[in-house]
């Protein structure tokens, strides 16, 4: 009996094993397969060299063909590759690659995990209206014109030399909840000698029209639009003499006087209509220029598209002395609207970043990727212009590397106490030895003002710990990582490397000097520029 049971169990075991073997590789979701097929087709349309280059960049052969054939590659492999779809590489904006990126991201983390539901802006840019007013003052102009006119008015053909004198001004105004540029035209059209011809009669006189019109220019997403100009005019006229057959002149004058009101009304409409057409023409030129400038920023848009950081314009607005733009980026957003305060008079530009933005901006570039100490050293040199001794790669034989966590590699918290970063690594190697646990790194900084600008001072030590609460780092590993990462996140950070580089347009940024950094408990870091003496303030709730 026992042997029978044993036999049956053995048979059952074999059957289960067979079933497992029959189960084969896991099937990939259709959305992923479809995206991979599109990428295959995109590659196939490329010249061979280009195709090879892309496949190398994406490590395509390791996972792409498998996915195209509906087999699901290892999750870890997909996590390690996804960050390569975000970046500055030309071509990443191609729809096939964007789709693949989105499908991978959704599959690995779910959209909800990556894109918080918060809908308020995460980036606020505010300009001082004083500065803009100076610019707008250039827009204001006086226009004089003189022309021969001819039009049917009150049943007569009226001619005359018209002298127009108009002033065009531009002001920032509230426009509903947003801000707009109000372009206003005020002017006078004088026709000192009009001749109204009707049959054998000519009525001589004069006319003066007062006109006023307005149009509003506003930003609709990334396009500048103008409202239909609205004009009003009032015309006053007088009759001086009448030419024509003598016996009927009196009658003709009586007729002219009778139709004067009608003529004035029609004349005013005519003046308003002509002024409106003229302004429309001029605004069309201005809009074309403005939108051309916006289009010229298309290359920046492509860069953002590649990195999945295309902003949505959430708000524009006009406060007491500031015009503001509010933007939200994928993966970021504030839960509460930004509470704007009046700009300090000497502040020209204020940029406010929500804590969610600080994390979102960098996360896509790193999630799932493995960085060696050389990568960290390069990043430090790029940002700070120099390397700490611990990041002189090769100066000591010790080497290390870390793999960024896929889901939440960087998180940031801002309050009045400081800017608090947490970096997460799913795997760490020291001298090619993999540690048994992931790593979490915490560092906090506060901005400190100096005569030359702002520097960031670390608050206390960095916190290096195992990301697994049940696992502790050995003392040696702990000390090693503490030393290396303390060099990476130094006691003082100057961000020297971000100063304008040589060789081109970035020199324009040389005049951009950070003058004030504020941290608020609501999660905002507010950076001002244009102030003579820098200062740092923190604001509690």
């Amino acid at each position: 009996m026992t042997s029978l049971i044993s036999y049956q169990l053995l048979t059952l075991g074999k059957f289960l094993l067979m079933c497992l073997a029959l189960e084969g590789p896991r099937l990939a979701p259709q959305a992923l397969v479809s995206a991979a097929t599109k990428v295959e087709a995109h590659f196939a349309a490329m010249p061979d060299a280009k195709e090879a280059e892309w496949k190398t960049y994406l490590h395509w052969e390791d996972w792409g063909p498998e996915l195209s054939q509906s087999r699901l590659p290892e999750r870890e492999q997909l996590e390690a590759i996804t960050h390569r779809f975000y970046g500055v590489r030309e071509g990443l904006e191609h729809p096939a690659l964007v789709r693949m990126r989105n499908e991978l991201t959704t599959f690995l983390g779910g959209e909800a995990a990556l894109s918080p539901q918060a809908t308020h802006p995460a980036l606020m840019i505010r300009f001082n209206t004083n500065i803009l007013s100076e610019e707008l003052a250039k827009f204001s102009r006086n226009k004089q014109d003189q022309r021969d006119t001819g039009a049917w008015i009150a049943g007569a053909w009226v001619t005359g030399k018209a002298h127009s004198d108009a002033k065009v001004t531009a002001h920032l105004v509230p426009y509903g909840d947003a801000a707009a540029l109000e372009v206003r035209v005020r002017g006078t059209v004088q026709t000192p000698h009009t001749v109204a011809s009707s049959g054998a009669f000519k009525v001589h006189g004069s006319a003066t029209s007062q006109l006023e019109g307005v149009s509003y220019l506003y930003l609709d997403q990334m396009e500048v639009r103008a409202t239909e100009p609205k004009f009003s005019a009032r015309t006053d006229s007088s009759v001086s003499r009448v030419e024509g057959p003598k016996p009927l002149r009196g009658l003709a004058r009586w007729q002219a006087n009778k139709k004067q009101d009608q003529g004035e009304s029609e004349g005013a409409n005519l003046v308003a209509s002509q002024a409106k057409e003229q302004l429309k023409k001029e605004l069309a030129v201005e809009l074309e220029k403005a939108n051309a400038e916006l289009s010229a920023s298309g290359k920046y848009h492509i860069l953002l598209q590649r990195a999945d950081l295309v902003p949505t314009l959430v708000t524009t607005g006009l406060q007491a002395n500031a015009v503001q733009l509010g933007l939200r980026f994928p993966g970021s957003g504030a839960e509460m609207p930004f509470s704007a305060k009046e700009l300090a008079p000497q502040t020209g530009l204020e940029v406010s970043m929500h804590e969610s933005l600080l994390a979102a901006f960098a996360s896509n570039f790193v999630r799932g990727s493995t960085w060696t100490d050389a990568d960290f050293a390069r990043m430090q040199r790029e940002l700070t212009g120099t390397n700490a001794n611990e990041l002189l790669i090769g100066a000591t034989p010790d080497r290390w590397a870390a793999r960024w966590d896929w889901k939440s590699p960087i998180s940031a918290k801002i309050n009045s106490q400081g800017l608090h970063y947490q970096l997460a690594f799913s795997q760490v190697w020291i001298n090619n030895r993999s540690l048994d646990t992931g790593l979490s790194l915490k560092a906090s900084y506060k901005p400190v003002s100096k005569r030359w600008g702002i520097e960031f001072h670390r608050i206390g030590d960095i916190g290096v710990a195992s990301s697994d609460p049940n696992h502790f780092l050995s003392d040696g590993d702990q000390a090693f990582l503490q030393r290396k990462l303390s060099a990476l996140f130094g006691e003082t950070v100057y961000l020297d490397g971000l100063s304008p580089p040589a060789g081109g347009g970035w020199d324009g940024l040389a005049s951009f000097a950070i003058s004030d950094v504020r941290l608020e408990d609501s999660g905002w870091m507010i950076i001002s520029s244009g102030q003579a003496n820098p200062k740092v303030t923190t604001v509690s709730k």
Binding site: P47, N389, I393, G394, A395, K450, L495, G504
Partner: protein, 641 residues
């Protein structure tokens, strides 16, 4: 000192109302002359002239003391940007210290070398005609003369009493100079007015018999060193191709050779450099002897014209290039004025660049109008340039935020025949091939420095390239690190401001060693000098780079010094034997700026000069050509490299 003598000295000093033309002139390291009584600034209380020399043992012993005295009176606390903390605008040195050299054989370059080598922080000048020492009766090296702000002689004599004629005491017991300066600053009577000097005698009669040299002996030197630039169609301002042409400018030729201003080679390198432009000591002596001895023609027979530098059958030295890229349009150089750098893009393959990486084995940069082309730098270029402005986004994508990945491919400097036609193949060891990469998709951009010559001229310069057929054994890399600080300031009126940067190649190579072939330092017009050291990377902490007080400290082996920074002559200096930099080593660059009114090249001493690309701003960077050495490369252990 006897009171009568003191009275006499004071009397002499107070009668310093010389006519301008009889007032002693002193020459600075740039070749500009200064009246001795120019050296006073807003804050100055006293002016000290010290007679210096590179050999006199008394002077040698004195130098560290002078450095300390300079620090005592003039050191100011500076913030991280370099701005003096206690002044909104630096009002100049409290005690102006001026070193004066008198030896006839010393060129101004020698003087500048001596000052940089000994980290002398104050101004050094040359009393070329000994008018200064004669005017004030100075007899010995190391002697000092102290003036009050109103140019009355306050003290004349030694710095202290440590040196006695022929011997030295263990320590000084009377610190004459320091005590005098303390008294002057405190508005008290100086405790000493005259003390007999100690030190080597200054030779006041410098007439010597010059050896007889004939024109036949100097002509080959002239043909090799001077004529390549000073001839028809070249940038040299006067022609020096015939005896009579040289005779016309003999005084000028003598001056610039004696002072080592020509040929332009403002470098002093302990490590031998390839293709030095400077005269050898023998050549210099021969030329000066000939110029001093009334330029005898002797039994001269006309020699051939300068040796052609072109390959046979080709207009280029690199032979027949695969590609010649010309500027798309001629650039018009006006007749007069000073022209800032011009950036001219050259499109390759219709602006798309080559579809694949290519390997440059030789590159030659040929000026279209050499008479107005001062120098050309050829960089790899990605993106568009409109009106000489490079698209910043494109630049960031290819060169990084810091632009450190910018790549210099070749260059042209007048007279630098070897580097103008650069054979990267020569960078490889025997039996190997070497080349520099031209990245796929790249175009070229020419950084043009033009000079005006009185005639409006059109230039259409060209770049000729020979590509290797195969990828090379050795890839020559380029690195362009910046000391880039938003807070960098060269403070107004500061005569000896310094900055440092440490270049470690490990981040580029993943911790491997490199072989550095050459370097091109870059500063702007206020630059004074530059030094490059090979150091133990971990021997200094990062924060020490920002410690201004420690910049004078030598930390390793000096590889290269530019004692007189000359914005006009920015050479690429290539080491005869390339330098191995191990992963535990780094290069340390130190640069000095003179933003005082006494720097004749300073466009505005009253401005606090920020970092910036324009020449009226300042930059500090070094461009390296290097190759990566793999582990086990025999050159890692070879001392000769």
């Amino acid at each position: 000192m006897h009171w009568r003598a003191a009275f006499l000295v004071i009397l002499l000093g107070s009668s310093a109302a010389f006519a301008e033309d009889s007032k002693p002139l002193l020459r600075d390291i740039y070749g500009a002359d200064h009246y001795y009584d120019e050296f006073v600034e807003e804050r100055t209380k006293a002016i000290v002239f010290i007679m210096l020399d590179d050999q006199c043992p008394v002077v040698k012993q004195l130098l560290p003391k002078l450095v300390e005295l300079h620090k005592k009176y003039n050191a100011v606390e500076r913030d991280r940007a370099g701005h003096p903390v206690t002044f909104e605008k630096y009002p100049g040195d409290l005690v102006q210290m001026v070193g004066v050299y008198t030896k006839p054989s010393q060129s101004i370059k020698d003087i500048a070398k001596h000052a940089l080598k000994n980290r002398i922080p104050f101004r050094v000048l040359r009393d070329s005609d000994l008018s200064f020492v004669k005017r004030f009766g100075i007899k010995r090296l190391s002697e000092t003369i102290v003036f009050s702000r109103d140019w009355k002689v306050v003290y004349q004599g030694p710095v202290d009493d440590q040196s006695i004629q022929g011997s030295t005491k263990a320590r000084a017991t009377s610190r004459y100079l320091e005590e005098v300066l303390d008294a002057v600053i405190a508005k008290k009577a100086p405790p000493y007015t005259r003390v007999p000097p100690v030190g080597c005698l200054i030779d006041l009669d410098q007439e010597t018999e010059t050896p007889k040299v004939s024109y036949s002996e100097v002509e080959p030197i002239l043909l090799k060193r001077c004529v390549p630039c000073h001839r028809e169609g070249e940038v040299g301002p006067m022609h020096l191709t015939t005896y009579s042409e040289i005779r016309d400018y003999a005084a000028m030729v003598k001056e610039v050779i004696a002072e080592e201003r020509m040929p332009p080679w403002p470098v002093a390198s302990p490590r031998a450099l390839r293709n030095p432009l400077e005269l050898t000591p023998d050549e210099r002596e021969t030329l000066l002897a000939w110029l001093d001895s009334k330029m005898p023609l002797g039994d001269y027979k006309p020699a051939s014209s300068p040796v052609s530098t072109r390959a046979k059958g080709s207009r280029f030295r690199i032979g027949n290039p695969d590609f010649v890229f010309e500027m798309p349009e001629p650039h018009t150089v006006p007749a007069t004025g000073v022209i800032d750098y011009v950036h001219i893009p050259i499109e390759l393959n219709g602006g798309k660049g080559f579809p694949e990486d290519r390997w440059i084995e030789a590159i030659e940069v040929v000026p279209g109008a050499p008479e107005v082309v001062h120098h050309i730098q050829v960089h790899e270029f990605h993106g568009k340039a409109v009106g000489g402005k490079v698209d910043p986004i494109e630049q960031m994508l290819h060169y990084g935020l810091s632009v450190e990945n910018a790549r210099l491919l070749g260059s042209y400097t007048p007279g630098n025949v070897e580097e103008n036609a650069r054979f990267y193949t020569n960078f490889a060891p025997q039996g190997k091939t070497a080349a520099m990469k031209l990245t796929r998709g790249a175009n070229l951009i020419l950084e043009m420095h033009y000079t005006t010559n009185g005639t409006e001229t059109k230039d259409r310069s060209a770049v000729a390239i020979r590509f290797a057929k195969q990828p090379p054994d050795v890839v020559v890399e380029s690195w362009f690190p910046f000391r880039k600080r938003p807070d960098m300031v060269i403070p107004a009126n500061m005569a000896n401001h310094s900055l440092q940067d440490r270049y470690h190649f490990g981040g580029l190579t993943g911790g491997k060693a490199v072989l550095v072939h050459g370097v091109r330092p870059h500063l702007h017009t206020r630059g004074k000098s530059y030094r490059l050291e090979l150091i133990d990377a971990k021997s200094m902490q990062e924060q020490e780079i920002f410690d201004f007080a420690s910049h004078d400290r030598l930390r390793g082996e000096v590889l290269l010094e530019l004692p007189i920074w000359d914005f006009n002559w920015q050479h690429f200096y290539r080491f005869e034997k390339p330098i191995v930099i191990r992963p535990d080593q780094a290069l340390l660059a130190t640069a000095y700026w003179d933003n005082s009114k006494f720097n004749p090249r300073n466009p505005d001493p009253n401005s606090n000069v920020p970092w910036g690309q324009q020449t009226h701003q300042e930059m500090f960077n070094s461009l390296f050509n290097y190759e990566v050495l793999e582990h086990g490369d025999p050159r890692l252990t070879s001392k000769s490299e």
